[in-house]
């Protein structure tokens, strides 16, 4: 938006300490009141189109290149869909548990990265602390033990991924109908030797996030907050689940909108609105409609949506979390951090449980079935519910791909958080400082957006300018928005 005498434009570019590329624009009127505040994602990839024609078995390794922060999410969502293509509905116990271990390893590393490396500086030093100190190196200087724990928690998650996927980033573990390796006894023992320490640090992380939230509850309750619907998968008995479950949505009061919806029917329940004033799609629940049907995903939605955790420590913490709002959904944006750390603890517990399971040393890795031409894979990624939907032709080529990535579902919530914080903290202020602008980013960071993932479906219709020579041959071509 160009400056006019009436309008002042403030831009935060790039949004930092989030994964990927984004910017915020804030428009102020002549009385310095916030007229509009938006989060933009500035890149376009085009995955849905350019993977058409590729062989389907490439999908788990190709599509994970959407995102280097949570590649396991895309790896597994694509693998689940590809299982469907090869006609496999039930994996062998070894294959299923290897994938679960990989997934929990990823939750551990991704949540540790977000909390310690990216967000903790805001919580430890304050939202408007000195910019030179307000980062993970500053945390390491002042709180060396805490920084070390964060680094080593993430490292442990990455080691789990390496042991299950072959590589810490962009691994190859999941293949159509199963996995390509089991867990050797040597790998298991190596990982088991550190698990007690990891459990202790994970418990400490929950305490840190919980105490922070409760101590600052008066300030945080309204910070970038609003009521919303919540979406996630849950297990058939209502338990917290991240790999395989039905879709559950509830409203801000806790009334169930739909429950245990089969993954294949996701497109009967959800749609993504295209709005003229922005280029990021807005997912919504169809029966409610685009105006009111938007929802939150991710740690807050999952902890709100589940009836219980099936591990003792996380369940204890979950009860305390739910107690704060008398069992109704928690709609505090900054409570994402606390919910995220409960999930981190749960993943540590699950890793411990899985490492003790001898099925991981099984030899039966792959099953086959009768080929189908369409499949949907839905999982919970660290940042929320992730949908992969593919169709393939008789030559095994992808003919259609639809991806709803977690961060896209949080588009409306993040924009509302940005708008609210801008109105509450920037409107009518004589001088807008760097520290005040960081408040806007703090609200975005609570959602742990992965703008790398989200770039796959952003963009604008181009104006195409072609430069032709006298014979009408194109010598140069530029595309402008």
């Amino acid at each position: 938006m160009s400056d006019t005498p009436e309008t002042r434009r403030i831009v935060i570019e790039p949004v930092t300490r989030v994964e990927g590329h984004g910017k915020v624009t804030i428009l102020l009127d002549d009385e310095a009141k916030v007229k509009q505040a938006r989060l933009h994602i500035v890149e376009f990839r085009g995955f849905e189109r350019f993977i058409q024609g590729r062989p389907f078995w490439e999908l788990p390794v190709l599509v994970q290149r959407l995102c280097g922060i949570c590649p396991v999410s895309h790896h597994l969502a694509a693998a689940k869909a590809v299982d469907g293509i090869v006609g496999v509905d039930t994996l062998t116990p070894t294959a299923l548990k290897m994938r679960l271990l990989m997934h929990h390893g990823q939750f551990l590393q991704s949540h540790a990265l977000h909390f310690f490396h990216l967000s903790s500086p805001d919580l430890l030093f304050g939202f408007d602390a000195d910019v030179n100190e307000r980062n993970v190196i500053g945390v390491a200087a002042k709180y060396p033990e805490l920084a070390k724990q964060g680094i080593l928690l993430r490292k442990y998650g990455q080691e789990i991924i390496k042991a299950t996927a072959g590589k810490k980033i962009h691994g190859t573990g999941a293949i159509p109908g199963g996995v390509n390796k089991n867990l050797s006894l040597e790998e298991r023992d190596q990982l088991l030797s550190d698990i007690d320490q990891i459990m202790e640090w994970a418990s400490g992380a929950v305490t840190l996030a919980k105490d922070y939230t409760l101590e600052h509850l008066d300030d945080l309750s309204g910070f970038g907050s609003f009521e919303s619907n919540h979406l996630s998968i849950v297990r058939s008995d209502g338990a917290y689940e991240i790999y395989d479950g039905g879709l559950r949505a509830q409203d801000a009061e806790g009334n169930i909108i739909f429950d245990h919806v089969e993954n294949e029917k996701y497109d009967e329940y959800l749609a993504e609105e295209v709005r003229s004033w922005t280029y990021m799609k807005f997912p919504f629940i169809k029966e409610i409609g685009p105006e009111e049907g938007w929802y939150r995903v991710g740690p807050l939605a999952r902890v709100n949506n589940c009836d219980f955790f099936d591990t003792p420590e996380a369940e204890k913490e979950c009860k305390e979390f739910k107690g704060l709002t008398d069992g109704k959904p928690n709609n505090i944006t900054m409570a994402y951090h606390w919910a995220r750390m409960i999930e981190l603890l749960h993943s540590a517990e699950k890793i411990q449980e899985l490492l003790d399971d001898s099925d991981l040393q099984g030899e039966d890795l792959v099953v086959t079935g009768e080929r189908r031409d369409e499949a949907v894979g839905v999982i919970e990624a660290p940042r929320g519910t992730l949908f992969h939907h593919y169709r393939v032709n008789e030559d095994d080529q992808v003919t259609m791909a639809n991806l709803i990535v977690s961060t896209t579902s949080n588009n409306e919530p993040m924009n509302r958080a940005v708008q609210k914080v801008a109105e509450d903290y920037l409107s009518g202020v004589p001088e807008i400082t760097e520290g005040l602008l960081n408040h806007v980013e703090v609200a975005i960071r609570a959602y742990d957006p992965c703008l790398s993932c989200a770039t796959h479906a952003m963009g604008q219709m181009p104006l195409i300018v072609e430069l032709m020579d006298r014979q009408g041959r194109i010598v140069d071509r530029k595309i402008k928005g």
């Binding site: 930092t16 933009h40 376009f44 189109r49 350019f50 280097g68 922060i69 910019v131 993504e272 003229s276």
Partner: protein, 181 residues
């Protein structure tokens, strides 16, 4: 004498190379002893305020903003390193070079099975940078001094190369550090 400064950025990449850099784990604190992290996505510095010894570039160029950022890095860093396959040759995002860009946009905003777009209008806004016709590797836009391949390059490869560059020693990468999948 002040510590040399380092800067990093991700252009048309997936942040996987930055994650691999963080996979040096505790050594990140050793690295912080050797260098000052000037501008990188892990702190809140939005622009350069000093000349940097080393700049690491992840990702190729898919829009005008990538080109601007890359040129700023070239002029603000003494040594510029293309890190990972996307910076070096476009990588997976360059798969769109085989397809007209309009078709990619049409698929995302009009034809997708969950798209709700009654008017069929495709959004448009001046805040989005101009998309390039193709995804370009970094060395086609500016001079690049070193290349560290991999998707992503392993953490140990990044560590060895960075420490050598920052201590003015020749880079020596044994076979196991440049061996991939």
């Amino acid at each position: 004498m002040s510590k040399p400064k380092i800067a990093t950025t991700s252009l048309a990449g997936c942040f996987g190379c930055h994650m691999s850099l963080l996979d040096i784990d505790e050594r990140i604190l050793e690295l912080a002893e050797l260098v000052e992290f000037h501008k990188w996505p892990i702190n809140d510095r939005k622009s350069f305020s000093a000349q940097c010894a080393v700049g690491l570039i992840e990702g190729g160029c898919c829009n005008e903003e990538n080109v601007e950022v890359l040129r700023t890095f070239r002029s603000s860093c003494d040594v510029l390193v293309s890190v990972g396959d996307c910076a070096i040759m476009g990588g997976i995002p360059a798969m769109r070079n085989m397809v007209p860009l309009e078709e990619c946009l049409q698929e995302a905003f009009v034809d997708g099975p969950t798209v709700h777009n009654p008017t069929g209008a495709i959004p448009n806004d001046v805040e989005i940078p101009l998309l390039l016709d193709k995804v370009y590797p970094c060395h086609e836009v500016v001079k690049i001094d070193y290349y560290l391949p991999g998707c992503p390059p392993p953490a140990d490869t990044l560590w060895e190369a960075l420490v050598a560059l920052l201590t003015n020693k020749p880079i020596s990468l044994p076979y196991n550090l440049i061996k991939y999948d």
